[in-house]
Amino acid sequence: MSHDSHAGAHAAHAEHHHPTGNQYAVIALILTVITVVEVWAYYIPALVASPMFNPALIVMSAAKFAIVVLFYMHLKFDSRLFRVIFTGSLIVAMCTIVALLFLFHKLSL
């Protein structure tokens, strides 16, 4: 009784596309580079003063977040079900954060 006989076994099929060890290393490198850029930016007063500082940091960390989730957690390759569960929860969580920050006047419309 093999796994592949399952109709819905996306997982089984997807395994072939998993990145290899070297690709994982490249991903680790990318993550490191982004982190370095983030910290570097923190020490440049001109950048910190710019209105783009916070958005840029958030974009960078979102990118790291996405990379880890998609590749290290294999979400990109795994069952659609997991994608639905995770992104669904994440969307509710994000909306809650944004709404709370708005309600406490940390964000304005």
Binding site: M1, H3, H6, A7, G8, A9, H10, A11, A12, E15, H18, T20, G21, Y24, A25, I27, A28, L31, T32, T35, E38, V39, A41, Y42, Y43, V48, F53, N54, L57, I58, M60, S61, K64, F65, V68, V69, F71, Y72, M73, S79, L81, F82, I85, F86, G88, S89, L90, V92, A93, M94, T96, I97, L100, L101, F104, K106
Partner: protein, 239 residues
Amino acid sequence: MTAQTAAAHAQGHAHGHDAHDAHEHHHYTTTGLDNRKVAVWTFIGSECMLFASLISTYLIYKGKSVIGPFPHTEWTDPAGKVYKAILDIPVTSASTFVLLMSSFAMVLALQAVQLKGKPLAPTAGWWERLQRSSQFWLLATALLGTVFLGFQSYEFTSFVHEGLTIKTNLFGSTFFTLTGFHGAHVTVGVLWLMSLLWIDRSRGLAGKNDELLVDICALYWHFVDVVWIAIFTLIYLIK
């Protein structure tokens, strides 16, 4: 239909439950996915809301503390004593890097278990060989996690020395609680990794069921890592 024939009938379909071992993936599931993996993903979904609530609280209370020390600015208390901005970016950057690398090690640990039993080309270099060592990567992950915890306890103790405890002000309460919750998650993760390592050393991790054991631990571990990615930016870097 008598009981005996019914039993026989059912037995015919009771697909070889020969040894009745704990390898649950032999069980039929509707989606073909393992129950434990489904449960872990829902658990992670739930954790999203947990950390969302903690992070929101930190951000809501940011700048609301009536007394210092403060995260990004100096503070002079009524007696004239000066407290410096308390967050230590270089140290935390280092610990962030450590945690990122632990995720890298974790993904290789999983790969190593998955590659068990697959032939290794005779020409393989040290890197290919190393990639086959699940024990190495499990240990590396656990160690990096421990180093991260070391950084965190260093951070916590130095904050306390500088006059910030969990009781001092809103910043102290929210900061220690948020990072403490994260630290607790890392601790659980390290213990989990150690037990996997222990299994690996005692009987070797191999086969679908063991891959799954490592996989769900890895999912948890990476999730704890991505939470830190968010915390590092939102709490440490943004002023």
